[in-house]
Symmetry: D2
Subunit: 322 residues, 4 copies
Amino acid sequence: VQLLSGVYQGHTLGTPIALVVHNHDAQPSDYAPLHQAWRPSHADFTYEAKYGLRFPSGGGRASARETLARVAAGAIAKKILQRAGISLVAYVARVGTVGLPAQWLQALLDGRGAQPTPAATLLVSPQALMQQVQASPVRCPCPEVAAQMQAAIHQAQSAGDSLGGLIVGCAYGVPAGLGEPVFDKLEADLAKALMSIPATKSFELGSGLDGTYLHGSAHNDAFVSGGTPGAAPLPAGTATNRSGGIQGGISNGEPIWVRVGFKPTATLAQPQATAGRNGTPTVLSLAGRHDPCVLPRAVPIVEAMMALVLADHHLRHRALAG
Amino acid sequence: VQLLSGVYQGHTLGTPIALVVHNHDAQPSDYAPLHQAWRPSHADFTYEAKYGLRFPSGGGRASARETLARVAAGAIAKKILQRAGISLVAYVARVGTVGLPAQWLQALLDGRGAQPTPAATLLVSPQALMQQVQASPVRCPCPEVAAQMQAAIHQAQSAGDSLGGLIVGCAYGVPAGLGEPVFDKLEADLAKALMSIPATKSFELGSGLDGTYLHGSAHNDAFVSGGTPGAAPLPAGTATNRSGGIQGGISNGEPIWVRVGFKPTATLAQPQATAGRNGTPTVLSLAGRHDPCVLPRAVPIVEAMMALVLADHHLRHRALAG
Amino acid sequence: VQLLSGVYQGHTLGTPIALVVHNHDAQPSDYAPLHQAWRPSHADFTYEAKYGLRFPSGGGRASARETLARVAAGAIAKKILQRAGISLVAYVARVGTVGLPAQWLQALLDGRGAQPTPAATLLVSPQALMQQVQASPVRCPCPEVAAQMQAAIHQAQSAGDSLGGLIVGCAYGVPAGLGEPVFDKLEADLAKALMSIPATKSFELGSGLDGTYLHGSAHNDAFVSGGTPGAAPLPAGTATNRSGGIQGGISNGEPIWVRVGFKPTATLAQPQATAGRNGTPTVLSLAGRHDPCVLPRAVPIVEAMMALVLADHHLRHRALAG
Amino acid sequence: VQLLSGVYQGHTLGTPIALVVHNHDAQPSDYAPLHQAWRPSHADFTYEAKYGLRFPSGGGRASARETLARVAAGAIAKKILQRAGISLVAYVARVGTVGLPAQWLQALLDGRGAQPTPAATLLVSPQALMQQVQASPVRCPCPEVAAQMQAAIHQAQSAGDSLGGLIVGCAYGVPAGLGEPVFDKLEADLAKALMSIPATKSFELGSGLDGTYLHGSAHNDAFVSGGTPGAAPLPAGTATNRSGGIQGGISNGEPIWVRVGFKPTATLAQPQATAGRNGTPTVLSLAGRHDPCVLPRAVPIVEAMMALVLADHHLRHRALAG
């Protein structure tokens, strides 16, 4: 990575920071078949429909290489958040049908106001979690499940096939008050940021889709008394955290947690039927180093996009609160 | 509704259109208990944490009354889209655990390029669908399921409880090419718009969360030859539509379809434990006309938000294409 | 004025404040001739060219009535600035050829770092200036010149003619550091804000057009030592203030001062030759209450627009500085 | 210049175009004195006040080197405008006190609807003008005046001093209808764009500051009949062009012309008194290649900024007009 501007003697200058990463490992010949056909479920066709032409090698701007810039920007956003006591951890919660056991979800559903269960303490300590995630090649904090995920990925790769899955993203230490009531709700900005990552299919806040099956009496997060006393005593938190740390567009002081679903990689090693650019059906066979499962590589991207949204709202709130 | 500006002799003037709707049916006394406590899972506390004070009657700006403005703006957006051949239909697909049968989902997964099955034809004709939805008090196009939904809602209401569920939103006639590759991806803008609706917990594009369990070979949407011949023959469409009409941030010409999950209403008629503003635990009992299930009323809001996003991208694309 | 939202028990709620002012004094018949012809140097034709139709009565949105909203918003911005110690004063410096004497300009050119001359002290005390301006019907702080301006305006009015002129706008107490280096320079945002006021023809920062005739050695503002000592001692200010309080897009702690030129009102009581909408030349004669000189009424608009820009940059800077 | 992205086989891809120009001719030692003192009327101090530190060599981001990016972007904007029949010419109209003779201003004040005078034809033909400007080292289209300007610049340089001046910018072929009525008025966007160029002190539209001395009857631009007949016959133009091609925020079909004033360069070769960063007065003497007059180099920047604003509004209008 080459630093072009914005930094001087180890400090940021307050002006834009420009980074360049040159790709010295491109193999355009791998993409030769794409000159004549559109990959199923990839952006080849839509780019061509929009712009009248496309860059065939490497998927052009639709390549996940684009996310490198997000991770670089997210690293700076994380530094801003760190000074405000906010930290982020994301991890792979499921690959295909191989997922973390139920107590992981339960730990996320436990609120700060509740007497934390031993399991919850163990599972949601940001530092411990971060270490477990970093120790795993598939970025899954539970070693047994991580091993099963790796096996599933290898099996898909052998078959020239691919797998999708689910990533959990958590933000700890977010104070109550970040966000906006209508136009830039915190959950809406997180949804936009995360659904802009290539291959995403679903976004869930807190209890998410599961929560929509429940009755209100089983879903509501009760506030727990016991916060700082004063003219306007704050609650100690909520007994559960199905809200995922956000209520009505604004953070409530609980950990923020979201889930992002990724589809199986569209580019396959096995032959696929599709339409040719000459107007007739064709079969597309692609060599190359296509990833059979993007989930492990998407973990830092999820963290980066969450960091960018939270850093923005942190700065906006600081303008308001002075 | 009072029209303050922007319209002259039945035509828009090109300048802002201001509408005012006065609420003549407010009952602030219903909200008296909220002066002293925060409703669980509502925005009472977060507004107070952000701004230092809040408007206690009617939930202030966190009330779904706010969405009236979205529906009004959406009505104008729909008129713009109509001239471009784009129409929108949303409906309630599930209330609590009562959902539409599997063939409804199958119809959404069928692509334009496939020989449409009779079921699909029946189910996804926009006009027929729209009529079925409008004929149903719960905005569910299948009369049998709609009856079960109504029964479930009445049962929850009797118990002073509430229900969540799922809404499907579809856009027909969207040409290939709307959207952007990275910063304002069409699915990201839809996610932000829909996750800004009060009480939303999940957003899914096309196959959504279900699709993340599949292998790539089972998930990819094959392009089908047979479109307009010419220098650059377009495909006739895709054989399936798990992509939900969007690939890499840009529409591909298939119907766009998304799913939005709503949590059960937070405000309950039954007593709820929470923290009081005086620092001690309290029990909140609320009279009033609180809706036990927002799903039926959220259908036009989903359509409006989709219309606003698509109209924006339609205009942006027109600037590009001239 | 009707307050529709955003305020509760005398405090702002943090959410949008909506105001409505109904015009109960419209006389559409005064504008009847405008249905068939375009006023010279007015927006009648350009609106019609852009939108295909226009609202003929009262000039539609091109009427200066539109600026009422700016003044209302500016009043709130001024309250924000007041808490940061920033105050604003604008006044009419010239009407047609009747202008303030040279020492007024000199007082503006004197910097904070200089030993303030008695004249400068007298002339630039914000409170004294504000009172003098408010005491004058033409919003000119010098009573002798104000009387001449009034006479000139009456003379123009008698002739069915109109006058332009110059307004000075000053901001006192602006700390060093507001603004941005390239994209939203403080002077650029001020220029946009002020050149968006109807009838404006010129914008000048500090020495302005006069300064462009000078040599650098005669134009530069020398920094004067003597500010707060410390690790990085600040200067006491600059000996002169030709910079107008801004250098390189960012405020330098000196008073900000700008000049805005207004053209003579386009709508005249005397007959004017123009093109008719039927394709043939016509003569336009307009009755009505058209203002022969907008300058006095534009003073609060200049203050309001400056306040909006400074309040924005104050909040942006607070986000940065924490 | 190095082209990093956005272009493929001689065509733009529709995606961002990234250019890098490396400065291989930096001489940081020239700026050594700036580590200990702030240049008068430069951004050294304001950057330090805002960010707490600054990049001392070369003025950092406040260097006019920054404008290279504007010219590069403007070149692309000009290509877009060219396809719409819009062309741009800027030139130096005055350096210090040496300016173009009065008929040049008269030619600008003549409208399209008038029988063009021979002088006007000669003077405002865009192609002829462009050639004359490019042939002049000081970018002044009148050779006699250009020679005087060069002499004045050399004289200032010999004295270690600097000069300011005035640039005229013209846009030809702009159709009626570009711009917005209130928030992004065409003249306001031009003012912001041009006042964001380093060293600018004044912005004038059409008759500008001169026009504010006139009566309305002498200032108004009469519409001239004779345009395309039809349901709504357009005027042939205006007899004069004091409006500078814009009325009420929207272009009227006449040439757009503006004037931008530049202050004399702040960085001087002669010694200057200023405040030192150690809190005591100091004298600053700077070696280096500082430009005694930025006007000739600012001509392409003025054109570029005008092109960017017009291209934006051209695209916005195309979205509206379809």
